[in-house]
Amino acid sequence: MRSQNVAMLAGGALLLCAVHGGVNAHAETLAPPGATLKHGDSALMRYVDTPEQRRKATSARARLVKGCMKEFGFSEFSTQEASGNPPPLLSSRRYLYVSPADAARFGYGIDPATAKDFDKPKDAVRAAVPSEEQSVLLGQGLTSYKGKTVAPGGCVRQADGILRKNTPAADLLLPWKLMNQAAGMAAKDERVTSLVAAWASCIRGRGYAYQAPEQAWDDPRWRPARTAAGVSEEEKKAAVADMECKDQVGYVDKLASVQNSYEKDLIRAHVDELEAIQRNQEAFQRNADIVMSGGRP
């Protein structure tokens, strides 16, 4: 819960083998996030796939896995290509912000109408998955099925291998690591501590004794009081006061600006690793394009 306690990086990057990617044609401007954070609002997000790129990558992966499963006779294997762009990976919630209008309806919570965007598609989850199907999917316990060889790691790893073909190695978690590091650095910055103080003064005037936005967001009174009917009036009232005070002091814009200044410093310090991510993304996206055009990289 504590944005202040974001740990500094320990040495040694954690290498993760999963790879995907995309062309980085993100907006260069760092527009104020406000209620609708855009992909380019974090400098480091340019090294993370856009929703459009994620849609293409997800669809290509789904197509490959489904095609592979079909070859083994599992034509009803439950998977789906993306029908539209997924929601952004980061929203204004990164800055503990929702619009006052949303706060008045949902408090700090999620709009129930958008809840499915954050969870697994329930209609794709079946009550029973045949063990043979699972084994072909993941390469568990089977080397062949119905006379056909099951690749190591099954259809999933085979699909990932196709999409990863000729992609240079890259640590795709690095942008997340650096974003969180920048947030930790910003939290200690005098520009942010004075901003928090201004917010605390504002919300004190609204009748709340919170010292920092995290205390309001994480107030232990809120979540246990929620029911299927929604959040409590008390939570809504506090959330509205919280967001209006954030608007009054320019909280999101100023916090994002300070975080971005640290992100830019970190980008300069990790330029080689981040450029490797871009090359990886570009190669991956080319492969996804080929798959979606009906070919194989």
Partner: protein, 172 residues
């Protein structure tokens, strides 16, 4: 989302009551105690038949589940999630050792996770610093093949003892 919380005994849009499903088998992710310094993967042993959502919050890290661990390298207590979860403050760890299976506890998961594994080959997992999917985040990629994708030290990502909710994205 609230109605879907399986730790409140509801699953799959509230249609299926946890505990009503007969367990026919499970795929367990065995957690290595000593792992490569740079990369570790959780190994799976298979006898899959039961969907993971039937087993969410039972101390077994199965296919399609995010597993949250109390300590580095999958140490200490664990909690398995099939669905997204808005708030870890009412979630507790399971502990292994001294018995035939995992034992429940009163140890709260919120702000106490130090490592995590995504056992889902069809969705990426997002870990969030605050409840309701807020604050800093970390995206954990798909499980690929037989191994869950393991992050052995969340501290390297500025998220040690901070995670309070999780969501899923980019599902196929």
């Amino acid at each position: 989302m609230t109605a879907n919380r399986t730790d409140n005994a509801w699953t799959l849009n509230g249609l299926i009551r946890k505990g009503m499903m007969k367990r026919r088998g499970r795929t367990r992710i065995l957690i290595p105690t000593v792992v490569s310094a740079l990369l570790a993967s959780a190994i799976t042993i298979s006898s899959p038949a039961t969907p993971a959502w039937a087993d969410e919050n039972d101390g077994w890290c199965t296919d399609r589940e995010l597993c949250i661990f109390e300590h580095w390298y999958a140490g200490g207590g664990r909690r398995d999630y099939f669905n997204g979860d808005l708030n870890y403050t009412n979630d507790t760890f399971w502990y292994w050792g001294g018995g035939p299976g995992p034992a429940p506890s009163n140890a709260i998961v919120n702000d106490r996770a130090s490592s995590a594994s995504n056992g889902d080959s069809q969705c990426k997992a997002l870990l969030h610093e605050h409840a309701d999917f807020a604050g800093s985040a970390l995206l954990i990629w798909y499980r690929s093949g037989s191994s869950g994708l393991m992050v052995n030290d969340l501290g390297q990502y500025g998220m040690n003892d901070t995670i309070s909710s999780n969501s899923w994205t980019d599902c196929i």
